[in-house]
Symmetry: C2
Subunit: 208 residues, 2 copies
DNA sequence: ACCTGAACACCGTTCAAGT
DNA sequence: ACCTGAACACCGTTCAAGT
């Protein structure tokens, strides 16, 4: 009654960790509790995350910040550099069809998706304060924003500064909403979204 | 060799906690380590924060988010309602002289001070994600922003939405900076401040 | 390769006791 | 009121061992 090929994987561990975080908060996530949820001894997790909880946190941060657009698992926190040689070197965006919609629509679309994902995993939000894991998804986002802002007429360092402002506003708005959501006069989800769009459009107006 | 009237106080505890957080990160703050730093047994802290670490975290969050403008100790996380009767009931802002500068200057002034404070205690930033303690300082800020935006010509719910957007951008920008500050191509402090102002002015332009 | 089980150092908190 | 000291349940992690 000893071997237990539980079919553990990094993704399964991350998903279960997120589930615990959603239910009991970040402070409620312990390696032992995570092991229990996975029906495994806590120490088994170290085989998939040899560097321990810190590495698991990094992987969770990478998972949360990867947009749904990138379908493949972004669970590894180190850049998987062993798959580069076989690929034909192309802009990752070139694989999908060209998005011909106006630049501001593309930008707003991204912002909505990003915000939704952060809200979905809001229990893990504080992990992102000291972590900005680089993933295929984060690279694609960077490219998307740069292309859109260039198309909007921005040049030179205005592009970088604009991108920073947009990013800042997105995570700031989610933090602001999460921060106040337990108050008695907190706006409901619809009003929160309306406020998000209000500020977002103002920022776009001011930048372009 | 037993009694130790260490002159412990909530403020001293918070300050020492912030010092530990600055040096070893939020995860490096333990009650036992905090006790050592204060030259006291860890359990002595519970006399000043009977609800334990969570209450200490709330007090730290309140301390960090209180702007320097409010000079009196904002260390208590419950609103100190026992000092109300003796005071003559006045708008707290009325005690200081009227600020006659243009609305956007007052707003930018506040934003700079708020940002500076968050950056100074950036190690405690993640505490703010799930905490928005109400303090005299937070009430004063709210009043300041509302007055300024009204003066800018905003009306109705535009005022509330504008205030939210400004707040969101401020904390978002600090989170964004802290999040990326360990990267090799991270902008220096001056460039970070320039980017903050760039987005801030854009947002003000777009809102007004 | 993948998981277990015992062990170690550390943690938050309670509680009775000291002054 | 303010602090100590022992105790309890829990934690992250190491390490040797099993399959």
């Amino acid at each position: 009654m000893s071997r237990n090929y539980a079919g553990l994987s990094r993704e399964r561990i991350i998903l279960e960790a997120l589930h615990i975080i959603a239910g009991r908060g970040l402070g409620g996530l312990s390696m032992r509790r995570l092991g229990d949820a996975l029906e495994v001894e806590a120490m088994a997790i170290y085989h998939h995350f040899p560097l321990g909880k810190e590495q698991l946190f990094n992987a969770i941060a990478a998972y949360v910040t990867s947009t749904a657009a990138t379908s493949t698992a972004p669970a590894d926190e180190e850049v998987a550099d062993e798959n580069a040689p076989e690929e034909d070197e192309q802009d990752p965006q070139a694989r999908e069809e060209e998005d011909t919609r106006p630049w501001d629509v593309r930008l707003t679309d991204w912002a909505d998706a990003y915000r939704a994902r952060l809200l979905e995993y809001s229990g893990a939000l504080s992990l992102l304060v000291h972590r900005a894991p680089r993933t295929p998804s984060s690279d694609a986002t960077r490219a998307l924003i740069h292309r859109a802002l260039t198309e909007a007429g921005l040049t030179g360092e205005d592009v970088e500064r604009g991108a920073d402002a947009l990013h800042s506003y997105c995570v700031g708005a989610v933090v602001h909403q999460v921060r106040h959501q337990d108050e008695e006069d907190a706006p409901d989800a619809a009003e929160a979204e309306a406020r998000f769009h209000h500020g977002w459009r103002a920022l776009l107006r001011g930048l372009a």
